[in-house]
Each structure stands twice: as C-alpha cells, then as structure tokens.
Symmetry: C2
C-alpha cells in the first residue's frame, strides 16, 4: 500500500489555506440581509475536504509556480460546490435533512434562506474568480478562459443538467449509458474543471491541458464511484448489515447497477488507467498520483 | 410631454437583438437534462423588456462604439435577471403563481426544475460574460472588472442580500431607512451594474464611471418606485377600485410607506435630479435622458 504521509500533510496545509482565504473574503454577517451570510457560512465551514480548490492548486503547481498566488480563485470553487450541496439537499430535490452529520442548511435555517445562500454563494464564487489580486500573477486572458470553463462545467451542460437528469432518473430503471451521463455532468465536470482551471491559470501548454482533461474526468468518476461504495460499505460497517441507502432511495449508482464486488473491480481498473495518464508529467505529478491512489484506497 | 418615438424604436431594435443573441447561445434542449433548459427558456422568453441588457448597451454606446460588439455580454445580464425572478416566485419566497400573466416557472414545471433553471441561468450568465468573442473588442482587464462588478451587485451585498431582507421585512413595520436598503440591494444594484458594466467594457474614464454610477442608482430607484406605483394604479384601472396588492402582501414599498400622491411627487423629483446628472455627457446621453423620462411617464 502506498504511503500517504506526504499527501495528507499537503492536503491538510492546503485545506487550512483555503479556509483562511474564505474567512478573510466573506463579507461580515451584518445589515438587514446578514442572515443569508450566516447560512452560507454555516454550510461553507461544515467539514468539507476542499477537494475542488485543492485540485485547482495542484493544477497550477504543475507549472512549478507558487499556488498561493491563486488561493482566492481556488476558494471560489468551494463556493460553487457548497452552493450545489445546499440546493441538492432541499426538500424538492434530494430531501436530505443532514449533511456531514449536521442539519442541512434548510433545516438549520429555512428553505428560502437556503436557496438564497446557494444563490449568493454562486455569485460570490465569480467575485472570487475575478478578484483583482489574482491578476498580479495570472494573464487576464487565461483567467477569463478558466472562468468560462467553470461556468460551462456547472451549468446546463454540466452540474445543473446532471442534477436534473439525476432527479428524473429516480425510481426509474437505469442503464449504464444514463449513469455515465449523470456522473459526468453532475460530479465529474466540476472536478475536471477545478484541476484544469488551475492549469489554465498557470498557462500550461495545450497538449498538457488535454492530458489533464482526460485525467480529471477519470479522477472525478473514481471519486464518485468510491463515494457511492463508501455509502454502502460505511452503512454495513456501522450497522452490521447492508443498508444500501442509495438503493432505498432508488438512486442510480455504480453499486446499484453492478453490485459491490464488480464496482470495486471497476474502481481499481479505473485508478490504474488514471495514474498511467500522468506519465508525461513525471515527478511533477507525484502528488496527483498519490491522490488518485488515496481516493481508491478509501474503499479497500 | 416628451416624444418617445426615437427611444421606443431604439428599445424595440435592441430587444430583438438581445432575444436573437440569447436564442443563438442557449444549448439545445436535448439529452437527459433537457427539461431544465426547457424551463429556463420558458422563463427567459416570457415577454421581458430586456431593460438590463439594454442599459449595458447604452453604457457601451456612450463611448460611441458599436454595441453589437458586446451583445453576448449584455444578454448574460438578462439571464441573471431571469434567474432572480424564477427563484423569487418560488412558494417559500414570494409565492407567486403567475409572472407576466403566465404561470410562473415552478407552476409550469415544478419546484426542483425551477430552482435548477435559475441555478443554470446564473451559471450561463457567466458563460456569456466570458465568451471569447467579446475579447475581440474589449480589453480583458476591463471585462474582468465588469464581471466582478456584476457578481458583487447580485450577491450577498447586492441582490441576494436585498431579497433576504425583503423576505424578513414582510409583515413587519418598516421604515424609510430599511426600505431604501432593500431597494438599493434587491433592484438598484443590478440596474446600476448593468449600465456601468457596459461603460467599463468600453473603457470610459473613471470620472464618467462615477457619474454613471450615481445616475444608475437613481434610475434603478425610479424604476422600482414607478413599478410599485404601477402595481397599485394598474389594479385600480383594471378593477375600478384600489386593490393595493402589495399592501395585502404587507410588502414594504414607497406607496405602502408614503401613499400614492407623495410617492408620485417623490418620483417626479427623483427623475428631474436623475436627468440633471447627465449634463456632462451632453448629446451622447440623450437616449438615457429619454429613458429616464419614459420610466417616470409610466405613472402619469
């Protein structure tokens, strides 16, 4: 088994930097509309791993530049992700009362406040992406290209389209084509865009961006598959029997479609292919390689 | 009374151009997530006046450049506005079953689809703002500055904060300070940012941007006040008696706080001050002057 000590130290350091950046950027929770900032802040600091901003930093660091230069940009990606979680949890969507063991935003506040907190976080993300401090280090045209990529990855042809399809698929007989489409749009697109946006900000050449796009897609899918596996394995470990919460909800997932054992095999196969994609980067990509194996390792 | 023939021809021409631009940009309503695009399209083409994009074009034209160059950017402002209307109409917000005489988005579709349509339109707006075609005519740094302005104007310290405060004020005894705060954040900020963003894209000098910021704030307030007046006068004209729908809903507005006659007086006074702000621009601002008087004229 790989030794993840370096990676874990790296992830912890970057998570702290992202959290500090978010705290320093968020407006004060005062004035007549302060409640919506309280709600946004509640969900933003609820134990997230900051995977998407960290991927952005990792993409930037492939150029061997200092990723502190784009912390504000990367922090915006966590705002996009958090907005999507708040809205996904709403009663008319996935109807989840809890998120990471705490009441979800609409339970801790109310539905209107939760919808507005999500809306405000999406706007705030673009405030971060276009913060003037980033232009001290990044070419304006690269920044615009990166923002455009994220907007597409999270819109109708990305995350929002994926969530729509996921809702429509609930309770229906799914197939592997539909499942791939949903994962690719709902989860993978933003994970890929997070890594790529950092690489674009750093000005990496087109050839490398192409490889990173493929790597990001694979990594996003691996993350989704292992997350769905963890949901089931986690329940089993906790309760001593297979609860299969996603099956109960009739959600279309790899485990619900292929079963646990075949899904584990698919994840291992995917992780190997994903790591191999990094060979052109050599040592520069050693952390990305560790991260891939670490994500797979969650289910072993 | 002013002759609005030129203005009306201008508004009609620009509205058509914005509509064509939006139609050409929106992705096809196909694939597993196509339903959310149907819903977004339903609300986007529901008879809006396209005031915000047109203000952006007017701001750009103050430089005597051809505003066709930034049609895609301007179209994004309509996407932001439409997303806010869809979410405002939701049952947990203002609970409006109708919008411009047609079923509101969540009535024509469902709540989940309406929330996602709004989310997708906000992302799509930023896709428009950062479209590569705009960079043929606009300096990248100016574009980033304009996007940042819009993000701030629509976020926690703008539109979203204003909607939160508006919801919290419902049914409570309001005062003029609170009312100004709500209007400024909920409506005025985006109208001001629409005009200013066009002027920033055109590279107008700081001194002129400062005047336009003040003008935009006044115009936005005038628009909100006359809109609230129209709600009441319109009901009276239609039904032969004062319905005062906003009073019924206990919404805080100028008419609910000051009564109809005093509000009309305030609107006339504000319009005069607003037009006077344009004097440094001379003939260049003749359409903005006409627009101000036209907005006032709706309630006379």
């Amino acid at each position: 088994m790989a030794n993840f000590q370096n990676l874990l130290a790296y992830l912890s350091e970057k998570k702290n930097k992202i959290d500090e950046t978010l705290k320093s950027l968020l407006p004060e929770k005062k004035g007549y509309g302060g409640r919506v900032l309280e709600a946004a802040s509640y969900s933003l600091f609820n134990g997230g791993k900051r995977l998407r901003p960290i991927l952005c930093l990792m993409g930037y660091e492939l150029s061997e530049k200092n990723s502190d230069e784009i912390l504000i940009f990367a922090a915006g990606l966590e705002c996009v992700h958090t907005y999507s979680l708040i809205h996904d949890d709403l009663p008319c969507m996935d109807d989840d009362d809890f998120r990471r063991g705490k009441p979800s935003c609409h339970k801790a506040f109310d539905e209107a406040t939760a919808i507005l907190a999500g809306d405000g976080l999406q706007a705030f993300a673009y405030e971060c992406f276009t913060h003037k401090k980033i232009l001290k280090h990044v070419k304006p045209r690269n920044l615009i290209k990166a923002v455009n990529l994220i907007a597409r990855a999270t819109g109708f042809q990305g995350m929002v389209g994926g969530q729509m399809a996921d809702l429509l698929a609930e309770g229906k007989k799914g197939n592997s084509r539909m499942l791939k489409w949903i994962h690719h749009h709902k989860t993978v697109a933003l994970i890929e865009a997070s890594l790529l946006s950092g690489a674009i900000l750093a000005g990496l050449p087109k050839g490398e961006l192409k490889v990173l796009s493929k790597f990001g897609k694979n990594l996003g899918l691996l993350f989704q598959i292992t997350d769905d596996l963890l949901d089931i394995i986690g329940d089993e470990a906790l309760l001593g029997k297979p609860v299969k919460s996603d099956l109960k909800k009739k959600k279309l997932t790899y485990p619900s479609l292929y079963g646990i054992e075949k899904t584990k095999f698919l994840a291992e196969d995917l992780a190997e292919k994903t790591v191999n994609l990094l060979s052109p980067f050599g040592e520069r990509a050693s952390l990305l390689k560790d991260l891939t194996l670490f994500i797979l390792n969650r289910v072993n």
